[in-house]
Every structure is written in C-alpha cells, then in structure tokens.
C-alpha cells in the first residue's frame, strides 16, 4: 500500500492560524478531499492549556503574559499546559486512523514518541519514555512534549488526529517560556533541547527536513509529496 503523506514546513505561524488550518485540513481529510498531512512549523511564544485544566500550572498573570507578548490558548488536545516558541519544532500529524489494523489510540502516541526517539538515536542520543508521562525524555529532562486530539470522523469510520509534538531544538529554550509554567503539570522534571544534548547548534529547518524520513518509516508511509505551502523549504526536497 502506498500511502502518501503531504509535508510542509512553515518557519513561523501564529498559533490561532495554525489551529484553524488544522481544523480545516481535518475536515477535508474526513471528507476524503485531502491526503494525510504533516504540518511542521514554529510558533511565536505561546502557552497552550490542554483538557486537564490546571490554571495553577501557569505561573504568570494575564498582564504579565501581555507584557511579554505571549499568547495563551485553551485548546482541545489532551494534556496540561505547555509552551511553544521559536527554537521549537512543532509537528501536527493529521492522519486518518481507520481501516488500519485495529484502532490503537495509545499506540499512536507511542509511535509519535518513537519517531523522536529514533531521530535522537541517529544523533547518538539515547532518549526514552517515562511510563507515567507521555513525551520523550533524555534522562530526567523532557525534550519533546506530545499532546493529541482524535477527531471522530463524520463521513467515515475512524478518527483524524490533530495537534501533535513540540520538539525543543534550540538551547536556552528552557530559560524562555518554560520558566513561566509547570510544563504539563510535571513539577519534578525539567526540559532540555536537542542542541543541549548534542552540544552543537542546529537549525530548526534542518531538523524539520531530517525528521520526515523517520516519521514516514514509523508510520508506514511510503512516499512523501511536499505540499504547496509557499515558504516551504521542503517543497523541492526529494524524499
């Protein structure tokens, strides 16, 4: 079976715009009008609060947020509060989970984690899971947060996934937005970044490019057709 996946990378997209884009693509996938899609992008500084609403995990007031120019969204994914910002590769896989052998929603989360774990392994980093927490960890530090929503299809059986992973790339990101929150409500563990782990600078764009084959391998996509997102450097990349 040759399932195709559309991939795009946008260097910077407002959280609200990306959320709307996700919703429209999800409904088009449901209608069978669009191929499954992987949106890769970066957000400006934003906090998002998932379905486990714990306002106490946001340590800043609305005024402080405004002052620092940080957006705040209460959204429809699983999980608690997290931070998005420049230096973090955000990936939104919008996949149709139907007809594929069984419908294993947790398996989908584990697969997302596996993509990041395999990618890090390629850089010589041993990353893993913590049984009690979703996400990817290096030692006791979280390098990639994961939070998803399964959107029940209206026009066919199954689900379309939305939201996804937030993979910290640039060193120092832990000193930025993550200071203002208790990420995912996990108090005892901090966060880290790819640059901190490999000890070298690496561009988010490069990671966006490199991670695609790891994604297609885990999820069994055979070919990738780049989407026509104008700014996408992946457009011409031949996977």
């Amino acid at each position: 079976m040759t399932t195709k996946l559309e991939v795009s990378y946008t260097p910077m997209m407002d959280y609200g715009a990306a959320w709307d884009l996700q919703k429209s693509i999800v409904s088009r996938i449901d209608l069978g009008e669009q191929q499954e899609t992987l949106l890769l992008l970066q957000h400006p500084p934003t906090y998002t609060i998932g379905s486990q609403r714990h306002p106490e995990h946001l340590l800043l007031s609305k005024e402080q947020l405004e002052q620092q120019g940080i957006g705040l969204f209460e959204i429809d994914r699983g999980g608690d509060i997290t931070y998005h910002g420049p230096g973090q590769l955000v990936g939104y896989p919008l996949l149709l989970l139907a007809g594929k052998e069984g419908l294993d929603l947790h398996g989908y989360l584990r697969n997302l984690e596996q993509v990041i774990i395999n990618y890090l392994a390629h850089y010589g980093i041993e990353a893993g899971r913590k049984p009690e927490y979703t996400g990817v960890w290096v030692g006791d530090l979280k390098i990639c947060a994961i939070g998803v929503k399964f959107n029940k299809c209206k026009h066919q059986r199954g689900f379309v996934t939305s939201h996804g992973f937030a993979f910290n790339i640039t060193s120092g990101i832990q000193n930025e937005g993550f200071q203002g929150i208790i990420p995912c409500g996990i108090q005892e563990y901090g966060v880290t970044s790819l640059e901190d782990c490999i000890g070298k600078p690496i561009a988010v764009e490069k990671v966006a490019e490199e991670i695609v084959p790891f994604f297609t391998e885990v999820f069994g996509f055979e070919a990738v057709s780049a989407q026509g997102a104008e700014e996408s450097p992946l457009k011409s990349a031949g996977y």
């Binding site: 390629h122 041993e126 990353a127 030692g139």
Partner: protein
C-alpha cells in the same frame, strides 16, 4: 619612559572554579606590539591550554610572571604600555630586562642581550661549584649568554669567593623574580660532581608549588665522559600530570582487580558494522565505544562507582561523565564525555573520535576537561594486556580495557579459540570494596559478552 602609561594585565577568571593558572608560553616578547584581543600568552589550567588576549592596544612592557610560573586569578602577569604613550620597541627592551635578569653589574650593554638570562646546565653547575651568582657575571656568548669561560674568568678575578656567602643565603631569597638565579642554590646538598639532572626535585617534594620552581632548559650536559645525560623541560602539562598523580596516590588508598571477558561476539559484531558505519558517519566504530556503553550501563546499576570521597560523606554523582584517557606523544589528557549515559554506541563513538582528535591537535577547551566522574583508559590500543592505573583524582575508580587476543579457552570441557580481553579496575578502597567492584565488573562482563550480531549501535 617614566611617564609612560602602563596597563596591568591580570590572570583572568577563565572558569568558575579556577583559582590559579600557569603561564605556559609567552607569545609576545617585551617590546612587541600588541593589539587588543591579540593573544599575549598561553596559560594552562588543569591540563588545558588557553590563550589570554590583551585587553588593550600597546607595547608589551615587562613580564611579571615567567613561563612555568603559577599565578593566582587576579594577579598581575605582565604590563602593557598603552598605545601612543609608549616609546619605540627598542627602548622597551632594556626596561624589561631587570625583571627577567636582575643584574647587579650592568653589562657594557653592547648589542643583543636576549640570551643574557639563559644559563646552560654546565654553567649552572660550574657556578654552583664555586658559589658564583650568575647574574653578576658578564656574558660574552651569543646574545650576551654566559659561557663556562665567562664563569671561569669571573672566578679568576675573585668573583667566586665573595659570592660564596650570598650563595648560602640564596634559598631564602627564592621568592624573587628571576626564574634562574635560584636554581643551583636551591639544592645546596647536591655535590656538583654528582650533579643529577633533576635538581629541582627536592624543592618539589610538597607537590603543591611545583611550577614555582625554575624550569630546566633542555640542553645536553657536557660530561667529561661524553654526553651521558639529557635534561628535559618539565612542561606545565607534565607538572599538572605529576601533581594529579601524586595527589591521587598519596590520598587515595588504591586497590586493584581484574576480570577477563570473552569479546568474540563483539569482534564479529563490529566487523559486521564497521565498514558501513565508517562510510556513513565518516569516523570509526571502535571497540572502545562498545566497551564504554557496557561500562556506563554497569555504572547505572552500581551508581556508587560514580562517586567521590568527601571525608565525612560519599558524594554520588547523578550524571555519568566519562573521562577518557587519551595519550599524546608526551602527555596524557582526560577529556570528558559529558552525560555518557544519554548516548548510544554511535554517539559514544563520535565523542571518542572528537575528543581524541581535539586532544591530538591541542584544541581541548576547559569545558572539555571538566566534570568527569569515572575514567576509562583504552590501554589495549598500545598493546598492554594488564595495567595498574592510577585513579583520576578525585574519582572513585578507573577502568582499563586491555588488548584483544585470541586464546584457547575451555568451554563446556572443550577447548575453543576465543577473542579475549582483560578489564582492570583500580578503586578507591575508602569508598569501594571487593564485593561491589566484583559485581560491577561482572556486570560489565555480562554487558560486553551480551553483544550479538543483532545489537543496534543507534
């Protein structure tokens, strides 16, 4: 010249923990033009070289600290005449002279005096024999250098006799600037006839202020029976190694143990992967990377191996940072693989390659050397089959990986030819005992012998 404006250059705080550093080499001579940010000298700290940049434009005035001298952070190392106020470089040089060679008798300063302060061992021993203060002798050799003839002429003119009294006082005066004048006197017990080519040794016994001793120039002794002995400079790096080794051996009660591992499967695994790996990654997939992984995983199971003795406590470190002993032509460095527990075999192989290359090129930075918690030495790379390593102070243990050799081994009462290697461990017996180390080594052995053709390096 008196109205010149001089800027004092001080030893900078190169790292948080740094209290002092040793001047390895002056890159600028007194009188040389210096630009801001231009390196003026190399310093060495805990076995790392770093260049100190100038903070101003100007002309190098005088060196306050000599090569080989240890200087506390914040102390003056040299003075730089500010640009514009400085005279011509030619005028600078004599001004700097008195500090490098305090000469009571002013030379009839004719021509080049650059070698004025350099004494050969032969001259030094002759001077010691006759109690001559060399700084009082007029040199006629190249660059004002003092020859044996000069010393003999000086003695003939009665110089030696009057100097004898001064020579006796000399040891007490060793705090003064000249790096050379104290040398022969520092060791009055040594008879000139039996002049031993390591005279500063007795003044280095404390192991604390070794670098304050004068350096010995690397010059062959003119022995009457031909050249029998060679003097070798003790470089700052050798000094640092000597200090660390001495401290380790004198403070840590070492114990030693060894285990034998069957690496036949590892050899097969590596042979299967190495060409493809090299082609893909551009560097070698070494046995050491597999061994490191086995050691790191064993440390995870026995975290006490990753600890430090702190008199009334044992501090167990969370991060496993492996110091890797890397030999160069004339020294050994221990750069650190940070958080080795978070790296897979490929990642460890890359770290090994990078650190070894940096070490050989002399490009290690301070941060490459810090934070080690356990040391591994790949002694097998130079053919050793057994070694007794000294612990990398203040760690708790050091492990060596010896040569892989094919040997007949009894398995199930049959003799097989297997690839075998020894793993040796020196341990701090204040922290560790035979039982825990035996278990630890057993785990290393299991990990190494557990490699199969299916083992993944990523």
């Amino acid at each position: 010249m008196s109205n010149q404006k001089f800027t004092d250059m001080v030893m900078p705080q190169l790292a948080e923990s740094l209290v002092s550093a040793t001047i390895a080499k002056w890159l600028k001579q007194p009188g040389d033009k210096v630009e801001q940010y231009e390196p003026i000298c190399e310093v060495i700290t805990d076995k790392v070289n770093a260049e100190i940049p100038s903070t101003v434009d100007g002309i190098m005035g005088e060196w306050v600290a000599e090569e080989g001298q240890t200087v506390a952070v914040g102390e003056v190392i040299c003075r730089i005449a500010a640009a514009g106020t400085a005279g011509a470089p030619a005028e600078e040089r004599p001004q700097a002279e008195p500090h490098t060679t305090p000469a009571p008798v002013q030379a009839e300063a004719s021509g080049d005096q650059s070698m004025r302060g350099r004494y050969s061992p032969a001259v030094q021993s002759l001077a010691a024999e006759h109690g001559v203060n060399l700084s009082a002798v007029q040199g006629t050799g190249m660059g004002g250098r003092i020859t044996r003839k000069d010393v003999l002429a000086y003695i003939e003119n009665g110089g030696g006799a009057t100097e004898t009294g001064r020579a006796a006082e000399a040891p007490a005066k060793r705090e003064v600037h000249s790096p050379f004048e104290g040398l022969p006197h520092a060791n009055p017990a040594v008879r000139p006839e039996q002049y031993i080519p390591v005279p500063p040794a007795s003044s280095r016994q404390s192991g604390l202020h070794m670098t304050e001793s004068p350096r010995i120039p690397a010059v062959e002794l003119e022995d009457q029976n031909g050249r029998a002995e060679t003097m070798i400079d003790v470089t700052p790096i050798r000094n640092a190694i000597a200090t660390n080794m001495r401290q380790s051996v004198s403070e840590i009660p070492h114990a030693w143990t060894m285990i034998e591992v069957d690496v036949t499967n590892l050899v097969l695994l590596r042979n299967k992967l190495k060409d493809e790996f090299k082609r893909r990654e551009g560097y070698n997939l070494t046995y050491l990377a597999f061994l490191l992984k086995a050691v790191v995983n064993a440390i995870k199971d026995y975290p006490i191996m990753n600890s430090v003795w702190a008199v009334n406590k044992i501090i167990v470190k969370r991060d496993i940072n492996i110091s890797l002993a890397v030999g160069t032509e004339d020294s050994v460095m221990t750069p650190v693989i940070q958080r080795a527990d978070q790296k897979n075999i490929a990642g460890l192989a890359r770290e090994i390659e990078e650190l070894a290359t940096k070490t050989r090129q002399g490009k290690l930075k301070l941060e490459d050397m810090q934070g080690g918690t356990f040391t591994v030495n790949n002694t097998g790379s130079f053919g050793s089959i057994l070694s007794y390593p000294i612990i990398n102070y203040p760690q708790a243990a050091i492990l060596t990986f010896e040569s892989i050799v094919k040997r007949p081994v009894v398995i199930n009462d049959m003799i097989a030819v297997r690839s075998m290697a020894n793993i040796c461990l020196s341990l701090d017996h204040r922290i560790l005992d035979g039982v825990i180390c035996g278990r630890f080594l057993q785990r290393v052995k299991e990990n190494v012998e557990g490699y199969t053709l299916d083992t993944k390096v990523y």
